[in-house]
Each structure stands twice: as structure tokens, then as C-alpha cells.
């Protein structure tokens, strides 16, 4: 039974520059901050960083794994990108039920890096299927 505080099984992945390159190809986002080490060194981050939406995909995967097709049919996601993810970082997506209203569940969601820093924070809401 789902109740407030219930947590979904987290997803953990290591992020690599190869994966960032593959995501750039797939998404069409070739911003040099993700791909060009020399350019990225001149920015506040001092090196390349992953696309925010690539990391956000982990949150969507987490909710999809539990809620299956109700996520693409009724899901709402609101997130903020708090910190960059660099190649070599190990990130973990997490979700905990924070509100149950009628047939809707709202999760507090996010992604943390291996230093336990929040890189994404937000909420995800999904309809509950009553069988």
C-alpha cells in the first residue's frame, strides 16, 4: 500500500563523456559546454557537464518503472537543475511520496551525486490506477 513517505527503488548510474556525446547526437543539443573540453574549461564549471535533461531522464525512468503507462498518460514533472553533473560522477535518482490527493500521487523527486549533493530537485505527480 502506498502511503506518504513511501520511497521508490532508486536508480544509480555513472555518467560518462561517451554517454554525453551520445545524448547530444540523440537530442540535437550540441552546446559546447557539454562536448568541448577546451571551451568548457573557460566556463564557471571548469570542464564539460552533462545535459540537464539527460540526468532528468533518470527521474522519468524511475516513475515509469513503477507507474508504467499512467506516467506518459497523466504525469507532471517540475524540476530545477541545482548543480552540474560531470563525466565520472555517479548519480542516483530518488522519489518519495509527499502527498496523496484523490487519485493523484505527488512524489518529491531528485537526483544526487556521489558527494550527496542535490543536482536536480522537484516534484512528480501521477494518477493512481485503481484496479
Amino acid at each position: 500500500m502506498t502511503e506518504i513517505g513511501t520511497e521508490l527503488a532508486p536508480i544509480t548510474r555513472e555518467i560518462t563523456q561517451i554517454q554525453i556525446g551520445a545524448y547530444a547526437d540523440a537530442s540535437g543539443d550540441f552546446n559546447p559546454i557539454h562536448l568541448d573540453e577546451e571551451f568548457a574549461k573557460t566556463t564557471q564549471f571548469g570542464g564539460t557537464i552533462a545535459h540537464g535533461m539527460m540526468i532528468a531522464g533518470l527521474v522519468s525512468e524511475l516513475i515509469s518503472t513503477t507507474h508504467k503507462r499512467t506516467w506518459p498518460e497523466s504525469g507532471k514533472l517540475k524540476i530545477r537543475f541545482k548543480a552540474p553533473v560531470r563525466p565520472g560522477d555517479i548519480v542516483t535518482a530518488h522519489a518519495k511520496v509527499k502527498q496523496i490527493r484523490g487519485t493523484e500521487l505527488t512524489y518529491s523527486v531528485g537526483v544526487r551525486n556521489h558527494k550527496d549533493e542535490d543536482v536536480i530537485i522537484g516534484d512528480a505527480t501521477v494518477a493512481v490506477v485503481v484496479e
Binding site: 545524448y23 566556463t43 531522464g57 522519468s60 518503472t65 506518459p72 504525469g75 537543475f81
Partner: protein
């Protein structure tokens, strides 16, 4: 040609693109993010696209039309999924400006997107907040 961000006003249409959510593109997306949720089953007769793939691939054309300068950062994202989308569907993404302000030397631009299918039903609404070097 890149947009003149200074003169963008709320409500300005910045992109309207039709695209096909084809199997190859969705497969590339799923492989890149390593999605293991099984929402996308390429061997099925009518595979469903992961909802984030719909969002990201809709953003593709918007990014092109915005001509974002190097160093632009993604600050936040809202997405509302209204219906599942099958691989092979033709979608249209309409993007308008929702916010354009400068704070502490950084331009914050909000872009609203409606993604519609052929019968004009909306399958996704989204809002992206990006920080453009001022």
C-alpha cells in the same frame, strides 16, 4: 540566424516545427539515457515512446530556432504528459516566450511548448527555463 533575446516579448512565437517520432531517433534517445523502464519496447507492433523522449525530441527544433549561444544553461523544466505517444506519430511543437528578464547579469528566458498530434490534441505541455549569457 540567432534570435535577438533582448527584444523577445512574452507571447512571441519562436518555433513551430513538425517532426516524426521515428524508431531510429527514439532508439538513439533510449540508448543514450540508458532507460530500462520498458515503456519503450521496439519489438512490439506499436511501440510507445518514453515521455521524456517526446519532450527532448520536441525541444530539438526549438533549440535550433532559438539559436542559443554557447554557454547557455538549463535552469528548470516543467512537463505535463497528457497522452502516450506511439513511435511513428507525427507531432508539431509550438513554442512561445513565457518570460524574459535579466537578473544579476544573466538573462532568464522561459519558453512554453505545446506538442500536438495530427488531430490537434495536445500530448504534452512543457516550460523550459534557460539562462542565456547576457
Amino acid at each position: 540566424m540567432p534570435l535577438d533575446y533582448v527584444n523577445l516579448s512574452i507571447g512571441d512565437a519562436v518555433s513551430c516545427r513538425e517532426f516524426v517520432l521515428d524508431l531510429e531517433t527514439v532508439s538513439k534517445y533510449v540508448a543514450a539515457v540508458g532507460d530500462q523502464s520498458n515503456i519503450f519496447e521496439p519489438a512490439s507492433a506499436s511501440p510507445m515512446a518514453p515521455p521524456m523522449a517526446v519532450g527532448v525530441l520536441s525541444l530539438r527544433g526549438v533549440l535550433d530556432d532559438l539559436g542559443i549561444p554557447p554557454g547557455t544553461l538549463h535552469a528548470g523544466q516543467e512537463m505535463e504528459f497528457l497522452d502516450s505517444v506511439l513511435v511513428g506519430e507525427t507531432l508539431t511543437c509550438l513554442a512561445t516566450i513565457a518570460q524574459n528578464s535579466v537578473r544579476r547579469g544573466v538573462r532568464l528566458v522561459g519558453v512554453k511548448m505545446d506538442v500536438v498530434r495530427g488531430d490537434r490534441t495536445i500530448v504534452m505541455r512543457a516550460k523550459s527555463m534557460i539562462m542565456v549569457p547576457a
